[in-house]
Symmetry: D3
Subunit: 339 residues, 6 copies
C-alpha cells in the first residue's frame, strides 16, 4: 500500500497551475508521466534571507490566468501542460532544522521520479536542494552521465558554512565530490560579485568547471556563451540538468530572493535562455530555486519563477514535437503569419 | 446649461500636472484645446488584480517636479504643456459594477472631445476602456479611418470572460467587430506568454492583424518592428490611435499592474517608442492603461505612466513644430551643443 | 446532470482549511452538511479601494496550521471542522463588471445551500454581496423570518452611488426594501465616522433599525450592547443572519480593507462577539466581507477574517453540543482545570 | 496686491476634503472664516525617520468619501465642514534645510490667521513646527493667554539636538522660554519610554509643567487625566492650543511616524479625547503632527490624522451649537433614537 | 586562550543599544556583569513564516534614540543600561539547518553566562531556542529550581513536528521532559486559537501546568492572572525565567512574527506585565522570541521587542534599587511630582 | 587631543563591511590609509522624497556576505578591502534643518581626508552634499585641478529652490560658481526627463559643460560616451571626482530614491561604468548619493549603492596593481581560465 499524497508542507494542497496530482511514493500514480513536479519547500540552507520554503507554493500558483492545466506558448506554439503529461507530486516533507534528513528525502523522491522515465522538475527552496536534485537524478541516470547547466549569480562551490558542509553555498562542490556530476561538464552562467575567493576558485579550476562570469557574458553576448556551454554540456553526457537560481536575474527582475547581487541578466534573457536550452538539449531534470516570497514585491519574482518552469516545459514539448517531425509554426516567423 | 465639472471619481479634483481644467460636457470649455485629458477610473473589467481605478489619479500626480503646467523635454526641446494647449476634463464617472454603462459614458466623452478637434488622452483604468476610447475616436473620425498601435503583453482579443463580452481581455475584438477599427490596421507590439490560445489566434489572423510577439521583437530589434508597424498604420488611414498597456514593460519596470507577464521591454524602450511614434505619426488619440497603484512600489509604475503621457505629448508638440518648420535643436545632437 | 465544481474564480481550487469540497449546483454533494462555505469573490461594488475579490481565497487559506480540516478551539473545547459537517462549495462566478448578474448568481447559490438545511457561510467580497446573502437566506427561510446582526463601521443603507442602486454602501437598504429582512430586526454594531448623512439616518429611523454607534459602545460597553441586540434579534424571528464587515475592527487590526475608519473595536472584541453570538443565537447564515488582500500587511486582516469564520463555526458547534446536553469543559474555567 | 495662493509645496494643490481655498497673505480671502487650515510640510526637524513633509497632503486627502466639503458626524450630529466656515490656505513654503526660516514663515502665517479671529488648524510636518504654531497663536492672543494641551509620547522639551536649538524634540522648551506659553499651563498626555533624562525632567518640573505619563493614564484612566488637564488648561487662560503628535497613539494605530514608541493609547481613545476637548474647551489653535506617509501602511496613520482633524472640527462645531442653545440630538443617546 | 568575539551571524557586529561588548567563551569579559545579552539568530525551528534569524539584530538596533548605552525609564525612574552592568556577548553561531547543534551551542552559552551570576537575556530567534535558554539556565541554577513565566499565543508543548522532536512548537515539552523545569511551576499567559488539540492538553494537565487562555485573561483581567501566576512561580523555586513570545501581542501590535494569532493582548499590556514581573520577581533569565523582520512593518514589532527587553532590564534595575532601599520617585506618582 | 569617533548619526556605529574605523578629526588615525569612507547622512536638501539620511547606514551594511573586511572581485581579481587600506571615519554630524552648517562640516571633513592623500569615498545623503565633497576635494587638490564625472538623471545645476541657494538640485552650479571645479571639465552622463528648462541649459552651455542625455547614450552607446567623457576629464586635470547619483539607474533598478526618473541605465551598466572609470582614471574622490531606504524594496537600491562603492574600490585596487605591474589574471579572459 502506498502512502497518501503529502500535499503542501506549507499551505493548502495545490498543483502547478492545475495539472493532475500524483504521489512520488506511488509509482503507479506517475506511470506515463513525461514530467513530475516536486516541491522542495526548504530554506534551512540559506546563509542570509530565508523564505524560500514558500517558493514551491508561490511558483505553482502565481499566474493571473485560470489554473486549468493549459498554457499555449505564443513563442513556441505548443501547450506544454497538454502536449506533455505533466503531473505534480506535491511537496517532499523537509524538516527546516534538519538539512541532512531533508536532502536525503528529496534525493530519494527525485530518484524515484527519474526512475520512471519522467523528468523531475523541482521547485525550491534554497539552492542547497540541488545537492539532492542532482544526486537523485544521477542515481537514476548514472554517475557522470548527466551534465549541469547552472544559472546563478553565485558559484555555490563553497566548502564549509556556519560550520556545516550543507547549505545553499555548497551544493555544487558536494555534487562533484560525490561523483554524481563531472566537474568538466559543469557549466555556470551569470556569476558576478565578490564570492567566492581565490581558494575556492582554485578548486573549481582544478575540477575543470566552466564558469561564465557576467563580464564575459556582457563582452561576448549571452548567445555565444550559451552556444559554448551547450556544446560542452552534451559532449559525452546523456542528459543535461538545468538548475536555475532566480538570482541570476538582476534584483530589479527578482527582488524576492535571499542573496540578491546587482548586475544580473534580465528576465527576458533568462526566459529566452531556458526556452532555448530545453528545446535544444536533452534535459533530464530541472530545478528552479531561491524564490523567496517574503522579499518579493507584487509577486514579480514568483511570476518569473513560474514562467521559468513554463518555458522549460514548453521547450521540452517543442523539442519532442520537433523530434517527432510534427509540423508546427516556425517560432522565428511572425506570430500570425502562418494562419 | 452645461453640467458642472465632475472632477475625480476617487480622491480630490486635480489636473494632469497642473494644466487648466475643462469639462467634456461643455464644448466651450474645450474650445481651442490641442489635447484634452480624460480619466477613466474603471477596474471592473480586470480579470485578475484590480486597482486601476486609481490609475488616473496616480498618472496625473506622480511627478517630483512642481505641478505647474510646464515640462520642457530634454530629449525633444519642446515644452508640451506650454507649446500645446493641454487641458484636463477630469474623470468620467464609471460605475465599477456596470461595465456597459461605464463604457458607454466614456465613449460619449471621448467622441465629444475628438469632435472638437482635440486629441483625447485617456488615463485608465483597465484595458476594457479601450473599447470606449477606440470606439469614441472612430465616432468622430469615421469607422475604419483610424489605425491602432497597441503596446501590450496581451492581445486583448478574447471573446467571453467570466460569461461576459466585456472586460480587459476583449476590447480589441469588440472594436474590430464593431467596425470602428480595421483588423488589418491593427498593430500589436510586445505580446508574450501563454495567452491567447489557438482559436483566438486564428480569429486574429483572419482579421489580418499584425502582432509583434517578443520573440520577433528580440530577433529583429524594436526599431525594425516599429518601422514596419508605422508603415502599415499610416497606409490608408487618417490617423493613429496609440494604446499603451503599461504591462508591455517588464514587471521590473511596471510591477503595479494587474496581469504582469515577465519578459517585456524596458521603460527606456517604451518611452523611446512612444516619443518616436507621436513625433512621426498623425496620432489622434492616446490611452495609457493598467497602472494599478495598490500593486505599485515606490510609485515607479505610476511614474512610468506619467512619463508615457509626457513623451506622447512632447512627441506631438515636436511634430507640430517640425511640420511648422520651426527651427529647434536637433534631438540627435548632444544636449548642450546648440547653445 | 449537475455542473462540475467551479472552484476558485481567482487562483487554484482550495477549500476552507481543507474541509471537503462540494458543489452548490449539486444538492447531493451537500446532503447532510451542517455548513456550506461559499466564496463571493466580487469587488465591483466597492466605492473606494478594491481587492476583496481575493478575499475568499485569503480567508480560506490564511492560517499557519496544517490545512487538515481540524481546528480544536481552546476557548470552546470543540473542533468545529470535525464536530460539524463543513463543506466548501467553491466560489460563485461573479463577473466583476456586472453587479446585477453577480448578485443574482450569489442569491441563487445561497438559497440553494440554505434550502438543504445547511448554514451558508459566505466569504466576500465587498459588502454589496450581502444583498444576495441576505436575500438568498430569506428565500429559503421566508421573508421577515430572519433578523440581521450586522458588525460594521458603516450603516450600508445608502440609496444611490455612482448612479447605481447596487454597491457596498447600499445592501441593507435594498434588503429591507425587498422585504427579505425587517428593519426593526436589523441590528448594527460599530458604526462611526461621517457617513451617512441626516437623510439616510431618517430613513433608517423610519425603518426602526437599531444602530449601536461606537460612542454608545464605549459608553455602555460592548457586552451590554450585544445583550440588547441579541434580545431584539430573537424577538419573533426564527433565525439570525450574522454579517461581519471586517472594517468594524480598527484599522490597526484590519488594515486590509477598502474603507478603513479609525476608532473601531479590537480583534479580540470582534472574535469574542462572534463566538458568543454563534453559541447563543440560532444563526442561519453568515458572511464575512471586505477583506482586501492588496492593502493587507503580513496577512493580519486575512488571518482575522479566517478566525472570524472559525469562531462562528466553533460557536455553532458548541451551541449544538450544549443543546444536545453534551458534557464539555466549561469555557469559563481555566484551560487545563478539567483534565 | 496680495500674493497668489501658494498651493502645495509637494504635489498638486488640494484643500482639506474639498473645503474652499483661501490665501493667508490675503486677509480678505479669510474674512469670515471660522477655521483656516494651513499645511506645514516640514521634516527638517526630525531626529530620526523623515517623511512628514508629505503629512499635510496625506491628512488633507486620505478619506474614502467624496471630497465634497461635507462630513456629518455620527457622534456629534453636526457637519463641521458646513456648520463652520472652514477654508484651506494651502501650504506655507518651508525650505527643508533651513529650519529657522521655515519656522519664522509658519509663525507669521499662523499669526496672520489667528489675527482674523479664525482658528488655525495646522497640518504638520514634524513637531518642530509647534514652536511656530504656538508662538504665532500667542502673537495674536497674547503671551501667556493660551494654554497648551499636548498629546504625545515624548515631552519635546529637549535643549540641543545635533548641535541645534531647533528640532522636533525641543519645541516645547523654546515655546516656554519665549514666554509665549506658560509652563504651568502646559499639559502633556501620553508620555512614555526612555526620554528625556533626569536633567530635562528637572527643567520641566521647574516650569511646573504637568505631564501625564502612560503609567498614570493606565492607573487613573484617561478620562480622569483629561478632567484634571482640562481644569488646569482653562484656569486663567483665554484659550487652549491643542497639539496632537500622532505618535501618542500606539504604533499599531500609527505606524507611519518618525519615532514610534510602543505602549500608547488607541485610535479610539485619541479620537474620543480630541472630540471631547474641542467640544468642552475654548480651543484657539490646533496642530496635528508627525504623520509620515513613507512609513505608513494602507494609509492608516494618514486616515487617523484626517479623523483627528475632523473630530477637532466637529467638536468645535458642536461647541458652537451648544453655546448657541441649538437643539441637537444628545450624543449620549442611541444613534437613531431621536428620529 | 579564549576565542575571539563572534559578533553577529547576520550583519555587522553591534551591541544592544550600544552597551559594552563581551564574549561568552571568555568568562573574564563577563566578570561583574549583571546582565549579558546573547543573540540566538535561529529560525530553523519555525513551522511557518521564517525570518527570526534577523530578530537579534533588529531587537538590538530598532530604536530612534542614540545608541549610547543609556535609557532612563520614565515609568520606573532608573536607567537600566547604566544602573546595571549590561554587556552584549554577540550572537551564538547557530547553523540554520542543524537544530540540534544549534540548540546545544546556545545551551552551553546560556549556562556559561548564568554560571557567572549574570542574568542571560537572549534575543531570538524562533521559540525553539527556549529549550536551550531554559535548559542552560537550569544547568547553572539546578533542575527544578527555576520556574517559567511564559507569554505566548501558543502552548509550545507539541511532541513531533515535520517528523522532528525539535521545533518552535515543542520546546516547553522538551524542557519539562528533560527535568530542567517543573510542569507545576510552568505558567502560560495569553494562549488562544486552535492549537494544541486534546491529546496535548491532556499531557499539559498531567504535568500540572497552569495556562491562562485569553478567555480567562479577558474575564478575570490580566492583573489578577499575573497575581496568581506570580504566586505560583515563586512557590518553592529560586528564580523565574521569563520567556516572551512576541506573538502574545495581537497581530496589530506585532505583525512581524511567524504564526500570528488574532485576539492577543496589547503592546501596552505586554510592557506593563514585563515591567511588573521583573520588578517584583527574582528573574534569572529572559528570552524574547519570534520577532520576524521580513514580515514587520515600519519596524513596529522590532521596536516592541526592543522595549520588552528594556522594560525587563528597567524592572530588574528598579528591583535592585528597591531591595537596596534606594530612595527613588514612586512610579505611582505623577511624572514630575517629585521634583 | 582629538575628538572621539562620532560613529553613526542614525543607528549603531558600524563601518563599511567591517573595515577598520578611523576618525577624520584625528589625522593619525588615517595615516597610511588609501581610502577613507565618510557618511553624509543628510536629506535636508531634497526637493521631494526624503530618506537619504539613512543612506550611509544602508550602503555600509547591505550585503549578504560576512562583514569581514574582505571582498574578492570576480571581475577584477583583486580584493579591494584588503589590497587597499580602507578605513571608515563614520558619519559627519549634519543637522537636518541647517544645510549650510551641514555642508560646511562635510567640506571640512572631506578636505581633511583628502589632505592625508587618501581618497575620500562619501556615502550620501542627498545630492546637495556634492557641493561639500567637490569643494572639499578641491580644497586639498587645488581649484580647477579636479574634473567631475557625474552620473545622474538630473543636471543638478539649478539656481534657487524653495527660496534657497542650497539643495540637491543645485550643487553643480554652486561648485562651478565657487571655482572649485571647471565647467568645461564637468561631464554628466544619464540626464533625461523634463528638467531643467532652457534658462538653466543656457547657463550650462555657457559653462561649456558636457552632458550626455540618455537619447545620446542610447544612440551612440554608453561605451562611446564614456570614452569621450574620459578623454575630456583627464585633459589638463590632475584627478577625477566621481559622483554617482543612484537615480541614474532606471527606477526598476533603484526604486529607493527621492526623484526617480524612468528610462535610465541598468544596474549592470552602472557597475561596469564605475569599474572601468576607477580602473582607468586617476580618481581622487567619490560620492554615492540619493539612496533612500524608506522607498527601497527588498534593499535592492541599497545593495546597488553598496556595489557601486565596491566596484569603485575594486577598480582603484586593480588600477594600482596594473600601474605597479603586478601580474593578475586578465579580466577579459574566462573566470577560471588562468588557474
Amino acid at each position: 500500500m502506498t502512502q497518501p499524497r503529502y500535499g503542501s508542507q506549507f499551505g493548502p494542497d495545490v498543483t502547478f497551475l492545475g495539472v493532475p496530482a500524483c504521489t512520488w511514493t506511488d509509482p503507479a500514480s506517475m506511470a506515463g508521466a513525461d514530467v513530475v513536479v516536486l516541491g522542495a519547500p526548504f530554506d534551512g540552507g540559506t546563509s542570509h534571507r530565508p523564505g524560500t520554503r514558500f517558493g514551491p507554493y508561490a511558483i505553482r500558483t502565481t499566474d493571473y490566468l485560470a489554473h486549468d492545466g493549459s498554457r499555449p506558448s505564443l513563442a513556441l506554439r505548443v501547450d506544454a501542460l497538454r502536449d506533455l503529461d505533466v503531473r505534480d507530486a506535491g511537496d517532499v516533507e523537509m524538516p527546516p532544522g534538519d538539512i541532512e534528513t531533508a536532502l536525503q528525502r528529496l534525493r530519494t523522491a527525485v530518484a524515484a521520479v527519474a526512475a520512471t522515465g519522467a523528468v523531475p522538475v523541482v521547485l525550491g527552496g534554497d539552492h542547497s536542494i540541488t545537492y539532492a536534485t542532482g544526486r537523485g537524478t544521477a542515481d537514476a541516470h548514472g554517475d557522470g552521465r548527466v551534465s549541469m547547466l547552472h544559472f546563478d549569480a553565485h558559484a555555490d562551490t563553497g566548502d564549509i558554512e556556519f560550520g556545516s558542509l550543507w547549505g545553499h553555498g555548497q551544493p555544487m562542490r558536494r555534487l562533484i565530490e560525490s561523483g554524481a556530476l563531472r566537474g568538466d561538464r559543469f557549466l555556470q552562467v551569470g556569476l558576478r560579485g565578490y564570492w567566492p575567493g581565490p581558494e575556492t576558485l582554485e578548486w573549481m579550476a582544478g575540477q575543470r568547471m566552466r564558469s561564465f562570469e557576467m563580464t564575459e557574458v556582457v563582452a561576448r553576448g549571452l548567445t555565444a556563451c550559451l552556444d559554448e556551454a551547450s556544446a560542452i554540456a552534451t559532449d559525452g553526457c546523456d542528459g543535461v540538468f538545468l538548475s536555475v537560481d532566480i538570482d541570476v536575474a538582476d534584483p530589479a527582475h527578482a527582488p524576492g530572493t535571499g542573496t540578491p547581487e546587482p548586475g544580473g541578466i534580465t528576465a527576458r534573457e533568462l526566459l529566452d535562455s531556458v526556452r532555448r536550452i530545453c528545446r535544444e538539449l536533452p534535459v533530464v531534470g530541472v530545478d528552479v530555486v531561491e524564490v523567496s516570497p517574503p522579499y518579493d514585491h507584487a509577486d514579480i519574482t514568483a511570476a518569473l519563477g513560474n514562467r521559468v518552469v513554463l518555458e522549460a516545459l514548453s521547450g521540452m514539448a517543442r523539442r519532442r514535437a520537433d523530434l517527432a517531425g510534427r509540423q508546427l509554426p516556425d517560432p522565428a516567423a511572425p506570430l500570425l503569419s502562418d494562419r
